[in-house]
């Protein structure tokens, strides 16, 4: 029953590996002449480029328009290192990694300056960088001839790889497609790792990713640099193959071609991207007589795909996508009405402990104030939270409750006052650091990673509790393997707490397919994934029906009683507040107006006034 127990680590499609292997060995010897050999080789280059861009634009969602410049940097550095231009004659196997590293460093530096910019700003800045790069290529031939200007640099050393001389296009085809295979494997490994999940999370919702413990600046930089490295690598191989480099090899049109490949294939869909690269490299050769129309068609197809099928053309092929439906069979294979399967056998996990409130204070807010311009959102708020306590925050709309969460979780920096968590001042920490310290949150208006599956959402939250490096992931070292196993086990354990609602076939369902209540549950599960001590739940029952509210009420109690979380919950439904809270804080106009047990605050005249207005006030207004 594969559907019920998805394998731990997904591996590249065997069929796909076979196709790759075939393309390495059989196809080069089948092609009729050198012309088609070189088309084939160039296709391999494009596959590499598209896979690299897919990491930046597809996995991470960064619109990087300087990508082609890194391809150029790789190419030109190869020209510097392996030709008579500077009289340097590095061996191929040394020169190519150097080119890739140089491109990566360039990508890193460029990223440092611009990675904090959002979406379209990033696009335009990277476009400006690409233009500067082109200007430099064209103009750095005088006074000192560095790039060769318009004429470029040509005639490089004949290369040797592990003793084999690479001379004919056929040799190059094999070499280039081996490199493409390497890039494919690397990007596959990355996709299914903590880094890949971090990238995807950032693409889906950067703020939520931050609040799940992902350092988005660092991960975006990492993505940018990885893309640049692959582009530089491809550039070096390309330069050697073409035996020359010109500024025109690296201009805007080339960038658009690579973008079209990635987009036609479907952003983030690796098989699709490869197919896109192959189709768009071979098709223009077949339709040569329409060559002039080529770029026009590319432009039009970008517009059309974005309007009609933004997920790319190849996602329609069933083998490449998996739609997860509710199964109608049990694990044992017995046919069953799916709803029965859905709700039956609600085995509750064994009670592990019975936690109750302790007197130890773990979170202390001292005179916290937060202003937006002239508006006071929070003023002089003092608050203490004890270990294993459930504290409810209530108050009318605009009382500053969500702002309180935003300040605690590091989204806003308070204007004055401090937040101490276990004696440590966390008031100026970035959101991902707050999560790492042990405080995780949910959002009032659900911010899940929509195009990721249920289990991936929870796995993503393990980011800050794992630390496998890039190399560890690529070489599948022990640290990575152990962490992956642990991540998976933890994610399953957490989701199992919600009973059958989020387990089984649901693991692989996209969260966008879930019901509203289930999405709220996944959000709580995601917050639990980083093993926080304190959970901040922002209106967990909003939009739920009475039945579901009762269920979530029970669950919040269980979160403390069985699993030992300390919880602050913002809620409007007083039935829930009454059922769960040890203590209630009432806020109005950014100030704490009352504090105590539910019964105490329910009788407080200030609270009644805040909710219902002042007695007699109505008469006054009606008089006037």
């Amino acid at each position: 029953m594969k559907k019920f127990s998805p394998s731990l680590v997904s591996r590249p499609n065997t069929v796909f590996i076979l196709i790759f292997a075939l393309s390495l060995t059989v196809i080069p010897s089948m092609l009729p002449n050198d012309y088609w050999q070189s088309v084939y080789a160039i296709t391999g280059i494009y596959v590499m480029l598209a896979l690299g861009l897919n990491i930046v634009a597809g996995f991470t969602g960064l619109l990087d328009l300087s990508y082609i410049a890194f391809f150029g940097i790789g190419g030109y550095f190869f020209a510097f290192l392996c030709s008579d231009h500077f009289g340097l004659h590095f061996p191929f196997l040394l020169a190519v990694p150097i080119c890739a590293l140089v491109a990566m460093s360039a990508g890193f530096l460029l990223g440092l300056t611009s990675i904090r910019l959002r979406g379209d700003y990033l696009a335009i800045v990277t476009l400006a960088f690409a233009q500067i790069f082109k200007l430099l290529l064209l103009n750095l031939d005088a006074p000192l001839n560095i790039t060769g200007g318009v004429n470029g640099i040509y005639v490089f050393d004949a290369i040797k790889v592990l003793g084999f001389r690479i001379l004919t296009p056929e040799h190059y085809s094999t070499l280039i497609w081996s490199c493409a295979l390497l890039v494919f494997v690397v990007s596959f490994k990355l996709k299914d790792s903590r880094i890949g999940r971090g990238w995807n999370a950032i693409r889906e919702d950067e703020l939520a990713a931050n609040c799940t413990g992902i350092n988005s600046v660092r991960m975006k930089l990492c993505s940018f640099a990885t893309g640049a490295m692959i582009a530089g690598f491809a550039g070096a191989v390309f330069a050697s193959f073409q035996d020359s480099v010109f500024p025109n090899n690296f201009d805007f049109q080339q960038l658009v071609v690579v973008y079209c490949m990635v987009i036609i294939g479907g952003l983030g869909n690796m098989y699709g991207v490869i197919a896109g690269a192959v189709v768009l490299s071979v098709l223009p050769e077949v339709l040569r007589e329409y060559g002039g129309l080529r770029m026009m068609i590319y432009g039009a197809s970008l517009v059309a795909i974005m309007a009609i099928r933004p997920q790319g053309l190849f996602s329609a092929i069933p083998a490449l996508t998996r739609v997860v439906r509710r199964p109608d069979k049990e694990e044992t294979g017995v046919l069953k009405a799916s709803t029965d399967l859905y709700y039956s056998s609600n085995e509750t996990p064994a009670v592990r402990a019975d936690y109750s409130r302790q007197d130890r204070e773990i979170l202390v807010l001292d005179k916290l104030s937060m202003y937006f311009g002239g508006i006071t959102a929070i003023e002089n708020l003092d608050l203490t939270l004890h270990k294993h306590e459930i504290l409810s925050v209530i108050g009318p709309n605009g009382a500053g409750k969500s702002t309180l969460f935003n300040v605690i979780s590091g989204i806003y920096q308070p204007n004055s006052g401090t937040i101490c968590y276990r004696g440590r001042d966390i008031s100026h920490l970035k959101p991902h650091k707050v999560v790492k310290a042990g405080i995780a949150r949910t959002f009032q208006n659900i911010r899940l990673f929509n195009e990721m599956s249920v289990i991936e959402n929870v796995r993503a939250s393990r980011f800050c509790r794992t630390g496998a490096s890039f190399l560890s992931i690529i070489f599948n070292l022990r640290r990575h393997r152990q962490e992956e196993e642990q991540t998976d086990a933890k994610a399953r354990e957490i989701l199992a707490m919600f009973g059958k609602r989020l387990t089984g076939y649901r693991f692989r369902q996209n969260v966008s397919q879930l019901s509203y209540a289930n999405r709220r549950r996944v959000e709580i599960a995601r917050a639990m994934g980083s093993e926080p001590e304190i959970l901040l739940l922002d209106e967990p029952s909003a939009g739920m029906n009475p039945h579901e509210t009762a269920e979530i009420t029970e669950f919040i109690k269980r979160l403390r009683d069985q699993y030992g979380f300390t919880i602050i919950v913002i809620e409007h439904k007083l039935s829930l507040v009454k059922a769960v809270s040890d203590r209630v804080i009432v806020m109005d106009h950014g100030m704490k107006i009352c504090e105590g047990s539910y019964d105490e605050i329910a009788g407080d005249p200030d609270v009644i006034e805040a909710y219902l207005g002042k007695k007699g006030k109505r008469d006054k207004t009606s008089n006037s």
Binding site: N139, M295, G299, A300, S301, A307, N406
Partner: protein, 321 residues
């Protein structure tokens, strides 16, 4: 000693003349940048999107002007009054660009109104590529030359004021730029459609609830922005007497830089940003090789985006959580 002083004084005077010359050049090109920037800023104001294809409207404006010029000249001699022909070119270029802008909005942007912003951006990139290569395919890569010398009466081709040479065309460009900016300011401030545009830019949903036809506002924003972009393209082509299919990309980047410099979304900001950018570029040419002129703009752009993304006069925006 005194001779040395005298010589350095001469050099100072030289420098001064050169600087004023560059200031005039900067003002001209700055006015053009401002016109382009207005298009970016207005579209950004109502749709919060970056219209990558805006630079192509600039290019198309230049090309339309060239066709009109070809149509109404025989062997480079105009068949009508020069001033009339220039006005005709301007009107047709603006009209053509406006129509194109509306078509782009209808085909490429409206279906994506609710889509993720990245899709919108890629779509506009696609439009840009399409227009560029459409012109390349049907008009060729060769530079189109404007033979405008016969449009201007003999005695008026250029003036010299205190060592500074100003060509007649430059005065035309400055005049038209500022006239258009004045007209735009009046439209935005005084007319009903201007009020709707301002309301829509503040809050598109609230504007719709108040009975404003926001689709119409969006269309009119594209009309105004594209017409100004087309006008800018024509003016620059007249000034440098040439246009080719590739000028849009560069001009678009400059216009965007100007818009960001002034704070994107703000029309007065775009005007000021354009002129500031033009002046700084012209000044840079005084000190650096002109091949790197464009680098100046890009460095300004990058610096502004990194250190003051809200622009010189813009207000800081906070992401809503």
């Amino acid at each position: 000693m005194s001779e040395h002083l005298f010589r350095s004084f001469m050099r100072m005077e030289d420098l001064f003349a050169q600087l004023s010359q560059q200031a005039i050049n900067g003002l001209t090109i700055g006015g053009v940048y401002a016109l382009i920037a207005i298009g970016y800023t207005m579209v950004y104001g109502v749709l919060s999107m970056l219209n990558f294809a805006h630079g192509e409207l600039y290019m198309v404006g230049g090309f339309i002007g060239w066709w009109v010029l070809q149509l109404f000249t025989v062997k480079h001699v105009p068949v009508m009054n020069g001033a009339l022909l220039i006005s005709l070119m301007l009107v047709i270029a603006m009209g053509g660009a406006a129509i194109l802008g509306v078509v782009i909005e209808r085909i490429a942007y409206r279906p994506l109104r609710t889509a993720p912003r990245m899709n919108l951006l890629l779509s506009s990139l696609g439009v840009s590529i399409f227009i560029q290569n459409f012109v390349l395919y049907f008009q060729g890569a060769k530079v189109k030359v404007f033979h405008v010398s016969q449009l201007i009466p003999d005695g008026l081709r250029s003036f010299e004021i205190g060592g500074v040479v100003v060509s007649f065309m430059r005065i035309v460009v400055i005049f038209v730029c500022f006239l258009l900016m004045l007209l735009l300011t009046l439209t935005i401030k005084k007319t009903a459609i201007g009020r709707s545009i301002r309301a829509t830019a503040q809050d598109i949903e609230a504007a719709a609830f108040m009975g404003i036809d926001t689709n119409r506002v969006i269309v009119s924003v594209f009309v105004i922005g594209s017409a100004l972009g087309g006008a800018a393209g024509l003016l620059v082509s007249l000034l440098f007497t040439q246009v080719d299919y590739y000028v849009g990309l560069q001009a678009g980047l400059k216009g965007f830089t100007a818009a960001v410099l002034g704070g994107i979304g703000s029309i007065p900001g775009a005007m000021a940003g354009g002129i500031l950018l033009g002046l700084s570029e012209a000044l840079a040419v005084t000190f650096f090789p002109s091949a790197y002129k464009d680098v100046v703009a890009f460095v300004i752009l990058i610096a502004i985006l990194i250190f003051r993304p809200q622009g010189l006069w813009g207000e800081k925006l906070r992401e809503k959580v």
